[in-house]
Amino acid sequence: MLLSIRSLTKRFPGTLALDDVRFDLKAGEVHALLGENGAGKSTLIKCLTGAYRPDGGDITLDGEKISPRSTSEAQELGIGTVYQEVNLLPNLTVAQNLCFGREPRRMGMIQTRAMTRQADAMLEAYGLDIDVTRDLGLYSVAIQQIVAIARAVALSGKVLILDEPTASLDAREVEMLFEVVRGLREKGLGIVFVSHFLDQVFELSDRVTVLRNGRHVVTEDIAELDRVKLIEHMLGHALETEVDDHATPHDDSAPKRPEMLKFRQMGRAGVVHPFDLDVRQGEVVGLAGLLGSGRTESAEFLFGLRSGGTATDTDGDVPLDTPRKAIAAGFGFAPEDRKTDGIVADLSVRENIALALQAARGWARPIPRAEQARLADMYIERLDIRTSDAEKRVGELSGGNQQKVVLARWLAMNPRFLILDEPTRGIDVGAHAEILRLIHELTAEGMALLVISSELDELIAVSDRVIVVRDRRHVAELTGSDIRTDTIVHAIAHRDDIGEVA
């Protein structure tokens, strides 16, 4: 056994995050670590890499007991990690990030040129040809993610840990990552893989360990498990309804809904080719496309984060030059990159949920505390946010639960037009189904939604209409029975060469 963990325990104030957990990793295997949001996966990883001190338990690596006191110690032991939060420094160059702690030196001085060469070499396997002497923060989240992976791979002499590494990657990038991981497996590394994409788990892993509420549930070969059984292990019960039961019927005879918003000439050359969009009451418009195709930018125009174009509703013009005005007009936007755009880590769950509603009302009219508490409790229950109570700092929630809080914030505002950018990223299967259910409820009440998602199944399940974005242009609009995986895929990859992303 390469790595083995015995009776690991970690306590946070108010939560027992890990309770007597065991975990074994063989050399040359990909071992998936699964569980609901807040099950304790990231905590297990952080105990292993010295980011947290466990309260009890033993960790053995190659037969020797270890207790890394800091992440640098773990790195020296040959454990490379990609943490769930994109965890590199935007103010350093790509090369500095990649080589951090292992910079080539002569007489104590970092050799910048050698470092640049080393960094270029590290990125080669990922087909990423970027200028490594520029600040990391200037690149997209996807590129930052790949850089983080490249760094971890380079550090992993024995063990590579990937905590939701694919959250912001598109299909092609995921395939590239998997190739790299398979190569490392061949070389005899042990790889820990955390993901909520079960398809990816089945594609890549050899064995699976499931955690639930901080306890070890099962460890098994992937061949012994199917999707249903796996979900049962994770949730502790069968998933009553998977996506399909809620699917919007896609027949062409759908009733015409009343018109609500008309957007004209949204966009700006170089960002997104100007587009028109009509949204009806209670309608769900899906936006499909590869990462970097202009999906997110389209949404940003609609929300006034970028200016260009006009919007009208039945009462006339809707000013959209700033997000504040958009919010005042009843718009909402749950962004994709919730770590940087969404969460206020130091505020409590309650305060985070009340934030958008408060902004919409204006700060002069504070929401009564009791009302805030009611909202918070309601969404904690509805979205199954795992927290000891509503006053907990959001920064102390698990990654998936933080995302639920951001969603709750915009839902609580009860906007008439809500944009959800990747609403279910990093959210477990159970909550995933619950969120789709919620979307249907909201639209039944008349709210219009724009949903951006890379998961076509999800998009098909919720949308009345799907718009496909490619190369910063809206290239197709599918309605009714045309909304199918094959039609969307065809439209996304219309030209057989898939354009270079980067």
């Binding site: 980011a51 800091s70 590199l88 103010n91 951090f100 702690g101 200037l138 690149y139 997209s140």
Partner: protein
């Protein structure tokens, strides 16, 4: 395409060059090695302490104690030279040990207690000033042959300008600071902590060691600055250099570093110091302007840089979401 992080540095250099041109047009004889020599000598202590401050600010911290530490250093040297027979070099060594340890202790407290640097170094500021008073309440002249030699040591540049010892010490310090900040792993860790302490920790930065190191470095520089200041003034006075920490911070910001940490250049700080010195020289040359004009111009420059930094932040955010995909 240049890296946008270089822009504040370019702006700093541009402002300095413009200031030089203005001075030259008004007073052509200012373009002499004499003025240059004086500029370096008069601002030597400030330049040295600003190098330490740059490292601190790069890490997202602040060190308010340095002005008091300089005053303490002057008094410490003067009193020890008066009351003992120790050679000045030994006194210097002792002093540097004391101030470095003082800085390290503050760094340790900041890390262990997870206290804001502002509070801890504010306490340090009062402590050091108090310690200076404990040694003496008067101005103590320094009367020592070796000391005199240091004061008179200079290299005569072409054009009769004097490149003094303390001016050279300042330039060397800047060089050392540049290497430490930009070419060592310690420096990389400083930038990392300035970019985000949690992330830095996950990347394997030894946060405790680095924090202690940062404030120890600043303490050392404050001590060295104190030595230079005592050579410059030839005395020790507990009320000296009140507010120098703020002047140093101003120099760092004018030099293009961002106060919240994670971005900046030590070389920029040198230019910041020289710009401030130049303004002062200009006012002296003019003769009719009163000295508070220095402060007004520095205030305006500070504002300008804060605005510039905000603009840059916008720019890089816009590029991030608009340019690369």
């Amino acid at each position: 395409m240049t890296n946008p992080r270089l822009l504040p540095l370019f702006a700093t250099i541009a402002i300095f060059l413009v200031a030089c041109v203005i001075c030259y047009i008004q007073f052509p004889f200012m373009a002499s090695t004499r003025v240059l020599g004086n500029l370096l000598t008069d601002n030597a202590y400030l330049g040295i302490v600003a190098v330490g401050m740059t490292i601190v600010i790069l890490s997202g911290g602040i060190d308010l104690s340095v002005g008091s530490v300089i005053a303490f250093s002057g008094v410490f040297i003067a009193v020890l030279l008066r009351d003992t027979n120790l050679h000045p070099m030994i006194v210097f060594a002792l002093l540097l040990i004391v101030t470095t340890a003082f800085g390290a202790a503050m760094g340790g407290l900041i890390h262990v207690l997870a206290m804001p640097a502002f509070i801890v170094t504010l306490a340090g500021m009062f402590l050091a000033r108090g310690a200076a008073y404990m040694l003496t309440i008067d101005s103590v002249p320094i009367d020592d042959p070796f000391f005199e030699m240091l004061q008179k040591a200079y290299y005569l540049m072409p054009g009769k300008g004097r490149l003094t010892l303390i001016g050279v010490v300042m330039l060397i310090t800047v060089l050392v600071g540049m290497i430490v900040a930009h070419r060592t792993r310690f420096g990389a860790s400083v930038f990392a902590i300035g970019g985000g302490e949690q992330t830095a920790k996950l990347m394997g930065v030894k946060v405790a060691q680095t924090t202690v190191g940062i404030y120890a470095f600043s303490g050392f520089m404050a001590g060295l600055s104190g030595i230079v200041f005592s050579i410059y003034t030839g005395s020790g006075y507990p009320l000296a250099t009140v507010g120098t920490e703020l002047t140093a911070i101003a120099a760092v910001v004018i030099g293009g570093a961002i106060l919240s940490g994670g971005a900046g250049y030590v070389f920029g700080t040198l230019i910041g110091v020289l710009t401030m010195g130049l303004i002062q020289t200009y006012i002296v040359f003019d003769g009719s302007l009163s000295s508070w004009w220095t402060k007004i111009v520095i205030g305006a420059l500070l504002l300008l840089f804060i605005v510039l930094q905000k603009g840059l932040l916008r720019l890089s955010v816009a590029r991030l979401s608009g340019g690369t995909a």
